[in-house]
């Protein structure tokens, strides 16, 4: 069974290496197929591990396999090891399964791009990095995967490197993620100093010795990493800009890899978070704040991919609420269903963008209902799953998080209300997008650029979207909180939930959330979907604030970037030029002068040389005699 996990980890890396080494030797098409095949093999490996674990006793579902000692320093050793347990296997299935569908979709989407091979090599590396992150058998390997995910996202967001905006977005994502990496590394330093190890087992067993402030510090550092990677407040600004990458990349970042890593981290290191309840509550609070903020901003976005990006931030906010409250299984379950419907939404939007010659502005779309019936139905399934309408996937996973919030005192009720408000917003922005893109009259842009013969894209795109639509429809049925909960049971040995909502809480939350979601859809219909839509009420200042994403970018620019840039300029003028550059010049001039002085000794006259030799010999002789 452990070989399945190793296969799962190594196969995408092998594909990336083959594509890179093969270079022009393999065709662009073959590179795409190779990457798809490798992620498919990874999924098979994950399945093998999954079934091997299923057949075992729940108490015997944790297996650590160490290839070799990766690095050692003094008494500290870290092995190159992978951990196979219910949590990592669940993540492996999601990452490689959804990842394989997305890579397969890319074969059609990226067809004709001059740098397809580079694209597929990066995609394979991305999947490998995420698998390393979730399979790594200790915190150090997790950090390695964490950093590599950041690197791969940088490479893929900036894939179209001739666009300055793509480069800027890639840099922004990298820097934001680096902040999180740094806080995580600092937390690990504290752990090494206090517990002498980064192995999960040792760290969790000895985390009791950390003491009050140290445990809070470690949890805060881990939360910093999670917040940066998952694009939660206050490090969320990189995610909407990351839409500069190709659409399948966005799907991969949002569904299978990257942004879900933060939730995984919290669930994986939950013994640490449980000893720092304040930080845990902070995580849940940040999630709730993010889900509201992202929902509001999504209302005014006009780029179809950005609307979906904000919905991701919002949904990850729900997962943070779940993980922060100790409802780990619910958070992970939502992570899984979210992977299905978010990949579906991105890829369906990708089909639309593909058909409309790269247009992403929803104001230029409209009336695509009859033109793209297949895409429209898939998009509708994804939207309903996102809003959480029964019986689509989101209904089962999101509502169980809300129910868990009710079992956490007054703070839980605050989060509960925020989550419910988020549901209304979700219905509103999702169906605003849906009605604007697919409903109404055909816009001038659509009439000009849509070609019937183009259809809805090649088989590789439509088939993968269809599979995901199926998953977004039925994927939630595996757990229905009041009746059956295999996901919770599955994760029980790894992360025992802290909250146990009563059955009436489940019913109440589900009912209210469903009503609010439908209300959101209804409001969207009134303003955007009805045959004669009402004029949208305008609140200019609010709208402007939301369009500027609540001025986070401007604030960071003002508080961090500008002072830093000004300080750098000042230091350049006061230190760099006079001291560092000046000292170089002075040093050069000084050595020239000294050299010239010594060269004066070289008279070229044999007599002076002879005199020097004779007199030195005389001096040596005198000294020799005198000393003796």
């Amino acid at each position: 069974m452990i070989w399945g996990a190793w296969l799962c980890l190594v196969s995408p890396l092998a594909a990336a290496a083959l594509i890179t080494i093969g270079g022009n030797g393999i065709s662009r098409r073959a590179a795409g197929y190779l990457a798809t095949l490798a992620t498919g093999i990874a999924f098979v490996g994950a399945l093998v591990s999954f079934f091997a674990l299923v057949s075992r006793d729940p108490g015997d579902r944790e297996h650590l396999s160490t290839a070799w000692t990766w690095l050692g320093a003094g008494s500290y050793h870290s092995g190159l090891s992978i951990l196979v347990d219910p949590l990592s296997v669940m993540m492996m299935l999601v990452v490689s399964g959804v990842g394989a569908l997305i890579v397969g979709y890319s074969v059609g989407y990226m067809d004709g791009d001059p740098e397809e091979r580079r694209y597929f090599a990066y995609m394979a590396v991305f999947v490998f990095s995420m698998l390393l992150l979730v399979e790594g058998g200790n915190l150090l390997l997790l950090l390695a995967g964490w950093g590599m995910v950041g690197l791969s996202s940088y490479l893929l967001i900036g894939f179209w490197h001739e666009r300055p905006s793509a480069i800027a977005a890639a840099k922004k994502a990298f820097v934001m993620n680096a902040i999180g990496d740094a806080t995580m590394a600092l937390a690990f330093f504290v752990l090494i100093q206090r517990t002498g190890s980064l192995d999960y087992g040792d760290v969790f067993a000895r985390s009791g010795r950390l003491g009050g402030w140290a445990i809070n510090l470690v949890a805060l550092g881990l939360l910093g990493g999670a917040v940066a990677k998952s694009a939660q407040l206050p490090l969320q600004t990189w995610l909407p800009d990351a839409m500069e990458g190709p659409t399948p990349v966005s799907a991969l970042i949002h569904a299978a890899t990257m942004v879900t890593a933060g939730v995984y981290l919290i669930v994986r290191t939950h013994p640490i978070f449980e000893q720092a309840p304040k930080i845990e509550n902070l995580a849940a609070g940040l999630g709730a704040a993010t889900l509201l903020m992202a929902g509001l901003i999504a209302l005014v976005q006009t780029d179809v991919k950005r609307v979906i990006a904000y919905s991701t931030m919002s949904q990850i906010g729900y997962m943070f609420v779940g993980a922060g409250l100790g409802a780990y299984a619910n958070g992970m379950f939502h992570l899984m269903t979210h992977a299905f419907f978010k990949a579906l939404l991105f890829m369906a939007a990708g089909i639309v963008i593909h058909a409309l010659a790269g247009e992403q502005d929803i104001r230029n779309m409209g009336g695509l209902r009859e033109l793209m019936p297949f895409t429209r139905w898939c998009f509708l399934v994804g939207s309903l799953a996102l809003v959480g309408v029964f019986p689509f996937a989101g209904f089962f996973s999101k509502d169980s998080i809300l129910a868990a919030a009710m079992d956490h005192g007054w703070y839980g009720y605050v989060l509960w209300v925020a989550g419910l408000a988020g549901t209304l917003l979700t219905g509103l922005y999702t169906f605003r997008m849906y009605f604007v893109v697919f409903g109404g009259q055909r816009s001038a842009y659509v009439r000009e650029h849509f070609h019937q013969e183009h259809g809805e894209g090649p088989f590789s795109m439509t088939s993968t979207v269809a599979i995901l639509a199926g998953l977004a429809f039925v994927g939630g049925w595996i757990e229905f909180a009041p009746f059956w909960h295999p996901v919770t049971n599955w994760l029980e040995p790894v992360a025992r939930p802290l909250v146990e909502p009563a059955s009436w809480m489940e019913w109440t939350s589900s009912a209210i959330a469903l009503v609010l979601g439908l209300a959101g859809i209804g409001i969207a219909w009134v303003f955007y979907g009805a045959r004669r839509p009402r004029p949208v009420p305008r609140l200019a200042p609010v709208e402007r604030a939301l369009a500027h994403k609540l001025y986070f970018d401007e604030a960071y620019d003002l508080v961090f970037y500008r002072p830093a840039a000004r300080l750098a300029l000042l230091l350049g003028k006061l230190v760099e030029r006079p001291l560092i550059a000046g000292s170089g010049r002075e040093l050069a001039a000084g050595s020239v002068d000294v050299g010239r002085g010594f060269s004066r000794l070289q008279t070229g006259l044999v007599r002076t040389y002879a005199l020097a030799i004779a007199s030195s010999l005389a001096v040596i002789a005198i000294v020799f005699v005198a000393v003796r």
Partner: protein, 106 residues
């Protein structure tokens, strides 16, 4: 086996040797003709040779004398090279004045 040493003390010989060496060194330092400089060098070498032989006799061992022989051989070769250089210089009509041969001045 001790060998009776006839003649003056070793210090007398050393005195003569030092005088020869100093004369030669003085010649090297003050003369400008390369020919005379070479000649002065030979005088220095002979002073050193005398010291070697004197000590050799003083200690009653032969190695100093052997050393003096090799010094003579080397001095002879050196004179050949030096004189050859001087002939070549005069052939090229280079001034035979070592103070003017200062191409290596820094």
């Amino acid at each position: 086996v001790t060998i009776a040493i006839l003649g003056p003390e070793v210090s007398w010989y050393l005195g003569v040797a030092a005088f020869l060496f100093a004369t030669g060194a003085f010649g090297v330092l003050v003369r400008r003709s390369p020919l005379i400089v070479l000649l002065s060098l030979e005088i220095m070498l002979n002073g050193a040779n005398l010291a070697l032989i004197a000590f050799s006799r003083h200690h009653g061992r032969g190695d100093g004398q052997i050393f003096a022989l090799s010094v003579m051989a080397i001095a002879a070769s050196e004179v050949v090279v030096g004189l050859g250089l001087i002939v070549a210089m005069s052939r090229k009509r280079v001034a035979l004045d070592i103070d003017k041969l200062n191409v290596l001045r820094g």
